[in-house]
């Protein structure tokens, strides 16, 4: 792809959270390396999936990318503007174009605000529309977009079901006409029969408004369905990325292989016939990650160099990137 199609470019992004000790005088005694040097690009109009197990840093990556956390190191370019160095005023204006949909539709909506206040917040904050009437008209329009009844704009979040609340979250993200949305596990808290509704809605909105998504999830089946490209994270680093079919059909990294083989398939014959790779043990703590390749203590094919040397991030076939000594 040509570089001009790049919407978001992340370079060497790191986010460490300090671990402190002491009550009055707090000393830093270590750091949780939640995101430890990741780089990727997101092209206009595509959906990039970020997958991995809990604690691997995928949510922190999304939030640091949007500058909701101040990065420890690295750069994030949005249309060639470096978000990490730009002044607060410009960043605030750019936030209109960078939105987020959250995981928990119960916790992410203020229970004391009406739907009109929640969805219209960015219209007020960014002074996109002045006057209550104009704002309410726009909110009604947005509610219709996400297939909610526009006459419900004076209701409160508790009057809606989980799936409806997630639609409100989507409407809120759309209010400022963004170019880019970070969808942070937008369907994991929903019932199975509701998940497909929200996924279809996100796909419809994407083609309608030419949106670009970073889709963070741990449901690998859904990620394959919705994403064009997928990046796999483990313990703060990206271990493999590629086009969805290439990555799912020909995974190369031992972690990606194990992760994919652990996903249950809703088909008893297929799921019982296949060879599974069962990983030993748990994900180590990001406060004290293993040396060398971070996956080596659980890796079935790890060798001596894996314990010492950090594997290089390299392209093994067009658009298929991997960090592993053994492949």
């Amino acid at each position: 792809m040509i570089e001009s199609n790049v919407l978001i470019s992340v370079e060497g992004l790191k986010k460490y959270f300090p671990i402190t000790q002491g009550i009055l005088i707090q000393r830093e005694i270590g750091a949780v390396k939640a995101v430890d040097d990741i780089s990727f690009k997101i092209f206009k109009g595509e959906t990039l999936g970020l997958v991995g197990e809990s604690g691997c840093g995928k949510t922190t990556s999304g939030r640091t990318l949007l500058q909701l956390y101040k990065p420890t190191a690295g750069h994030v370019y949005f249309n060639d503007i470096d978000l990490t160095t730009t002044d607060a005023r410009t960043l605030r204006q750019l936030r209109r174009k960078l939105q987020m949909i959250f995981q928990d539709p119960y916790a992410s909506l203020n229970p004391r605000w009406t739907i009109s206040q929640i969805v219209g917040e960015s219209l007020r904050v960014h002074k996109i529309l002045i006057g209550k009437k104009a704002q309410n008209e726009r909110v009604s329009e947005l509610l219709e977009l996400v297939q909610l009844d526009p006459s419900h704009l004076n209701r409160y979040p508790h009057e809606f079901s989980g799936g409806q609340r997630q639609r409100i979250g989507v409407a809120r993200a759309l209010a400022s006409e963004p170019d880019f949305i970070v969808c942070d596990e937008p369907i994991s808290a929903l019932d199975v029969s509701i998940q497909a509704q929200i996924v279809n809605l996100l796909e419809d909105l994407q083609s309608k408004f030419n949106l670009t998504y970073l889709f963070i999830a741990h449901d690998l089946s859904m990620v394959r369905h919705i994403c064009n490209r997928v990046a796999v994270m483990y313990l703060g680093v990206i271990v493999e990325s590629g086009e969805r079919d290439e990555l799912y059909d020909h995974p190369q990294h031992p972690y990606t292989k194990a992760l994919l083989s652990a996903v249950p398939i809703p088909d008893p014959k297929a799921t019982r016939a296949r060879q599974r790779i069962i990983l030993e043990g748990d994900v180590p703590s990001p406060a004290n990650p293993p040396s060398g390749c971070k996956f080596h203590p659980r890796c079935p094919i790890a060798g001596d160099e894996c314990k010492i040397i950090d594997p290089e991030w390299r392209e093994i076939s067009p658009n298929h990137w991997i960090a592993c000594h053994k492949v």
Binding site: E53, S161, N200, D245, L259, P266, P268, A270, R272
Partner: protein, 329 residues
């Protein structure tokens, strides 16, 4: 041969300020020795309440088991004295819960929590109980089991805590293990470990398992038979292969179609089930799926369809697709 567990017409309701929540509305099923039954459904469909009723763990009030018979090895658990029930709980029927963090006592060591049940049910000495506990922890794959006996739950990871729960459940060699969404809070690689562990322990001890989940992928791996629940009713019951190859109830069909598969190249639009599941307050007389069902006829709204046999070991509750359905005429 008699079944290990027989549940007949179980009805459970809860009194709330908004009215009676009819959580379970006449559920019947059997479970044979050594078999695994998967109970599948979305949140609020009554799957957890069903098994909590079997264990007599429903708080009354507000809950009430208003009807039903639960025969375990021939004895009706619902009529049993509390003391007799306590003998069965943990010893004959063990349960593991969804969230291993909240179901372990944070101020007692792991070892103490497991050996407690062994001392209570097996009437052995403390030393003997400690020995058995360490063996159990080794069996479920806790490294350095002896050293970790005196650790507290917070020192274990989520997957390890769930292993501890399983060790606790198995401590008295139960003939029935009830697992209520045991892997929902866990990552897929850890889920795979727990599923494999349960399968191997099951064949080792000839144990029956009831596995509750909302994940059709997990039941496909572990269950022999499956029950699909919706709004407190069983809508379909069948052998695991039948339900995936030949689903009959519109809800089961739609649910299976709405799931993308990790090994599939088809990226067309997902099929959706419109609307959302009902809350079970003041359920109508008819089929609860009517508002979301593409095949519904007039009769569906007026009369509740019974769960009827349509072929060998395959039962469906539907006026249109079921045994008496016009669809099959």
């Amino acid at each position: 041969m008699a079944h290990l567990l027989e549940v007949h017409d179980l009805k459970v309701q809860f009194k709330t300020l908004a009215g009676f929540v009819q959580a379970v509305n006449g559920v019947s099923f059997n479970l044979d020795k050594g078999k695994t039954l998967g109970i599948v459904g979305e949140s609020g469909c009554g799957k957890s309440v069903t098994v909590l009723s079997i264990m007599r763990l429903i708080e009354e009030p507000p809950g009430e088991i208003s009807n039903g018979v639960v025969l375990f090895e021939g004895n009706d658990l619902l009529k049993m004295e509390i003391e007799a029930m306590q003998e069965i709980r943990g010893k004959e029927i063990a349960m593991i819960f969804q969230d291993p963090m909240t179901s372990l006592n944070p101020v007692l060591t792991i070892g103490k929590q497991i050996s407690e049940a062994i001392i209570l049910h097996k009437k052995v000495s403390k030393e003997e109980a400690i020995d058995q506990t360490v063996k159990l922890l080794e069996m479920v794959g806790i490294p350095l089991a002896k050293e970790r006996y005196n650790d507290y739950p917070h020192q274990f990871s989520g997957g390890m805590r769930q292993r501890v729960m399983i060790a606790m459940g198995l401590s008295c060699n139960p003939s029935l293990l009830i697992a209520d969404e045991p892997t929902t809070a866990l990552d897929v690689t850890i889920q795979a470990q727990i599923v494999e562990l349960t399968k191997s322990l099951q064949s080792q001890f000839d144990m029956s398992v009831i596995w509750i989940t909302h994940d059709l992928g997990v039941v496909a791996e572990i269950a022999d038979n499956i029950i699909v629940m919706y709004a407190g009713y069983i809508v379909e019951e069948a052998n695991i292969y039948t339900i995936f190859e030949n689903p009959v109830h519109p809800y089961t069909k739609a649910l299976l179609k709405s799931l993308p598969r990790v090994d599939s190249h088809r990226y067309d639009r997902l099929e959706i089930i419109p609307g959302s599941p009902p809350d079970c307050i003041d359920l109508t007389v008819g089929c609860p799926f009517v508002p979301r069902c593409p095949y519904a006829i007039d009769r569906c709204a007026d009369e509740h369809p019974p769960l009827e046999l349509i072929e060998d070991e395959h039962k469906v509750a539907c006026w249109v697709m079921g045994a008496s359905g016009s669809h099959n005429d």
